[in-house]
Symmetry: D2
Subunit: 135 residues, 4 copies
């Protein structure tokens, strides 16, 4: 799990958007984002791009947790409730996996436990290991 934590640390966009890793295990991950002023859109709610990025990081960590590079090829997000303050959590679960392709479902929730968005993502899994030498 060290290499996947390093994988997360090297994600500059995740850092730029203020996303922190909470948990990771093989095929699943949990990340959080404390809502800041810079996350808002012109309706004063958290920007869809910020919510997507949070879900996408959980997805990236979960799908890369197997030790081989997984490239995201498709993602679908449905927005359920607007978010304005507090902390958002995204939790990714692996739903199905075959040697080349895998699918993940990510739920984004707010402090009240309400679902903010649902994200369904698909990866194409390449053969090379992320960093097998350090595992």
């Amino acid at each position: 799990m060290e290499s996947i934590k390093r994988f997360f640390k090297n994600d500059k966009f995740g850092e730029h958007v203020g996303i922190e890793l909470l948990e990771v295990s093989v095929g699943s991950a949990k990340v959080k984002m404390e809502i800041k002023d810079y996350h808002l859109n012109s309706h004063k709610t958290v920007h869809g791009g910020a919510i997507f990025t949070l879900a996408d990081l959980a997805f990236a960590v979960a799908s890369n947790s197997h030790g081989t590079i997984a490239a995201s090829i498709n993602a679908n997000i449905s927005y359920i409730k607007a978010a304005t303050t507090g902390t958002l959590i995204a939790e990714a679960k692996e739903v199905a996996i075959n040697p080349k392709l895998a699918t993940y479902t990510i739920h984004v929730t707010d402090d009240a436990g309400d679902i903010i968005a649902i994200f369904q993502g698909m990866v194409y899994r390449k053969k090379a290991a992320i960093d097998a030498s350090h595992e």
Copy 2:
């Protein structure tokens, strides 16, 4: 079109991610993002969340260009080619519209004109005007 430009300027997340508005007309919009180090993921390519946010801004501007608030309810993105340097452009076009719902297709392209990602988005259109007093 003044109110939609103000709508874009008030988007703090768009500013945080370095997105600029190039063009807007009723039902369409074009935005750009010069790739910076902070846009990269741990594979050293532009983060899916950054590409999504770029497309999402074009989508938001195009769908809010009618003068009534349009809330994004669903988005689907397919990633075609990785991007590493240069400038990315996202162009949104309205594909279909009815009083409540509308659909947009957004193409993200790189400096070579190659498609980086395709984004399909849907909005639920509310009645209230963005800022009718200044139109």
Copy 3:
């Protein structure tokens, strides 16, 4: 629940495609499809349209189980494993609901319990009841 069962019986396309209702409760549903020769595509596997239709029926029953008409506005399907023989089951669960919009996740599985496809669907809920007089 009588009106929702009638709702299912009146679905002519579901009948044409050989789909049967197994279970329904508020916000969830289970349907099945015994694979027949007419479900196959030219690769001799179950056609994506047949798998989608099966999932869509579970989605329609679950989303219309509240007694108000719910119109499907978006669906996303990821195909995980090809199916060739036996019976496919689709199970729909309501993930989130607000007065106007709701989201459902549907899993399609085969006789081995393996996931064939994942379906994420969104409805726009209208006010009128399906048939409140008989509830």
Copy 4:
């Protein structure tokens, strides 16, 4: 183009749903479906599964027109307008292609030329030819 026409003829589900091939060229295809009573859902409009299947056939023909097997891995559909009578047309266009993955956009229109649904599909392209010996 003979092999792709044979590919279409061998699609039993397409035949079961009453879909006809109108045009095919490398990367694009056009199919039609005359609305019959068996296409309707319990709201007396064309079933989402029938519309999806129509779009999916255009997608399958377009993506298999290169002479190598293309397996659908993801599809997203947005429904714009209900259809009740007449003929529906689905037209598929290849938006982007790389050696392994390709993306298609399909528009479904009615007799008035109005858009009924938008479909975005992705294939994973395998190496083997459909039937190179007969080309």
